[in-house]
């Protein structure tokens, strides 16, 4: 952009990826994943009610206490975390595969394929993810995991499509690919040495942001009561349900908020580039 007065002294920006931050984010995620995957196997039944132990305070046996139905908050939290992580990963994987394939096809083939895909994406782009999920969950009978999955994946593929299409057109139009064409190196070389190495860091960033978006969207939907339905343990639902008790039993509301916050911060810390 600016004329380099000192090409050899390009100043290091203040936003270099910090390896320590990335490593701790990865560690934090690993801990959360272990909690989500192992927790439900070893902890008590999250649905088991015991009204006699209404709002019991945290103790050694029950580190996060019990909720207004006497259910174990820790066990419910483990189930909710597993649900969030697994569903979000499924949504992100679906959207990523769909969007990346469509984006590369659009950039590579051009012509009517590009025109058609772009027209569809233009319509999707103006519809917020939340709206798509709302409409899809209205389609299902309510509280269905399928609706949530479909809605979130459908709402997110556009992001991958647009980013991948833009970057892939840039790469495919670059002198490097032109040179590869003159050298008759074929499409495999272009995908393996040009496209994939260039897209990979972008996709990593988009995928970690997508996890955040999915997890937050799920909890938001639970919160506005059109997502998953009680008694299923879900982070947003847990926050809503616990909210009326925030001054008598603060652990109930702090626990899911803490997990939600940790999940977002860790995924945000995992990004490779500095995109928002």
């Amino acid at each position: 952009m600016t004329t380099p007065l000192l090409e050899e002294l390009a100043p290091a920006g203040p936003r270099r990826p910090r390896p320590i931050a990335r490593r701790s984010a990865a560690l934090g995620l690993l801990a959360l994943a272990v909690f989500a995957l192992v927790g439900p196997l070893v902890l008590a039944d999250p649905a088991a009610q015991d009204l006699g132990r209404y709002l019991e305070s945290p103790s050694l046996a029950e580190p996060l206490g019990r909720d207004d139905y006497g259910r174990s908050v820790l066990a419910r939290l483990a189930h909710a975390t597993r649900l969030s992580l697994v569903l979000a990963a499924l949504c992100v994987a679906t959207a990523l595969v769909l969007g990346t394939a469509a984006g590369i096809a659009s950039a590579w083939l051009g012509g009517w394929v590009d025109a058609a895909l772009r027209a569809v994406s233009e319509a999707f782009v103006a519809i917020p993810a939340l709206l798509v999920v709302l409409l899809v969950s209205a389609l299902a009978s309510g509280g269905s995991l399928w609706a949530l999955y479909l809605g979130l994946a459908l709402a997110q593929w556009v992001e991958y499509f647009r980013v991948v299409r833009a970057r892939a057109s840039l790469v495919l139009g670059s002198p490097a690919v032109e040179a590869a064409g003159l050298l008759r190196l074929g499409p495999v070389h272009i995908i393996r040495q040009h496209l994939w190495p260039d897209l990979r860091p972008l996709l990593t960033t988009l995928a970690s942001l997508g996890m955040v978006t999915s997890i937050l969207a799920m909890s938001t939907l639970g919160f506005v009561k059109v997502g998953l339905q009680p008694p299923r343990a879900e982070l947003g639902l847990m926050i809503t349900d616990a909210f009326p008790f925030y001054d008598v039993a603060p652990w109930m509301v702090i626990a899911p908020i803490g997990v939600l916050f940790l999940l977002t911060v860790c995924f945000l810390g995992l990004r490779t580039s500095k995109d928002a």
């Binding site: 004329t3 203040p14 519809i127 709206l131 709302l134 409409l135 919160f223 059109v226 916050f261 945000l268």
Partner: protein
């Protein structure tokens, strides 16, 4: 000037096509909702209309009849889309009032909230961004980076809850829910404004830093132009060229936030109505509110495109984000 006029035509044509595509997509989804409406949903609509005590199978069948589920699918879809494009949404299945009237009423509430939040977000984000840009890598810049990350990690509904706890429940300063008094907009607008300010702060910061290091700003200095004129004539305008398109991207996040915050604070707007319509399977209201929200995004993006066209004379491939 010829290029600007063609630019205008391109923007309007592109956004109209997008609006049309959005309308068709939303209508299609709503049509699928109706097609798949299970028996108990018809029952629920009837219950919503007549009250749970008075509803019977007959009333439920009447509802199904009203939605015309006995014709062939393609015919239904055709007339459905035609109706939607003529803005003929019929009456609410729950309140029996014309849907267009209801949407008009809710639209005002949403516009109020959206405008207040956006203004707040631009003020707050712009200020944080400009302050951070004064010394890249300095203390303020780091604080701003923390702010941006923190805001990104807290979903609007949580932020709203926290604000309610602090200002309403603990301090008793502001009303938590409702739509009556002037002060009732403060908490919803604050929630949404703070949520949006993060990205705006980041983009402002990066834009101001980049423009400040550009050749034309340095040249403006060595021409002998005073600092404040360099800022007003060159930095602000060129930073806006970068920032304004991001507001278009923000439109989607803004509308998403509107839906959540309206539900949280029971603010009488399109999002609130939409969530209720989903809950009651009130398809006409569902379709109209979803359409209104999506078209609002297209409208904001059209305004953004026009602003960019006015700010930046360079020809471009009109491939602005969102």
């Amino acid at each position: 000037m010829r290029s600007r006029r063609t630019g205008l035509a391109v923007v309007l044509a592109r956004r109209s096509a997008q609006g049309l595509g959005v309308a068709v997509l939303v209508s299609l989804l709503c049509f699928l909702v109706v097609r798949r409406l299970p028996g108990d949903a018809a029952y629920r609509i009837a219950a919503g209309r007549y009250g749970y005590d008075l509803v019977d199978q007959e009333a439920a069948d009447a509802v199904r009849d009203e939605l015309g589920l006995d014709r062939p699918a393609w015919q239904q879809l055709g007339s459905w889309l035609a109706d939607a494009l003529q803005l003929d949404f019929g009456r609410s299945l729950v309140t029996s009032r014309p849907v267009l009237d209801e949407v008009g009423y809710y639209l005002v509430g949403t516009l109020q909230l959206a405008a207040a939040s956006l203004a707040l977000a631009i003020l707050l984000g712009g200020a944080v961004g400009v302050l951070a840009a004064r010394r890249p890598g300095g203390v303020l810049d780091r604080i701003a980076t923390g702010w941006v990350a923190g805001v990104r990690a807290v979903p609007p509904f949580l932020l709203g809850l926290l604000l309610v706890v602090v200002f309403s429940a603990q301090l008793g300063l502001l009303p938590a829910v409702g739509h009556g008094s002037a002060s009732s907009i403060v908490l919803p607008a604050l929630t949404l404004g703070v949520s949006l300010s993060g990205l705006i702060a980041r983009v402002t910061r990066d834009a101001v830093v980049e423009v400040g290091q550009s050749d034309y700003v340095r040249f403006a200095h060595t021409k002998g132009l005073a600092e404040r004129w360099v800022l007003l004539r060159h930095v602000v305008r060129n930073a806006a060229v970068v920032l304004v398109p991001y507001l278009g991207v923000q439109a989607v996040i803004l509308i998403e936030g509107v839906v959540v915050v309206e539900s949280l604070f029971a603010w009488q707007g399109l999002g609130h109505a939409l969530v209720h319509a989903v809950f009651w399977r009130d398809v006409p209201v569902l379709q109209a509110t979803a359409l209104a929200l999506a078209l609002l995004i297209v409208t904001i993006n059209t305004l953004v495109d026009l602003a960019v066209l006015w700010l930046d004379p360079r020809p471009r491939r009109l491939e602005a984000p969102a």
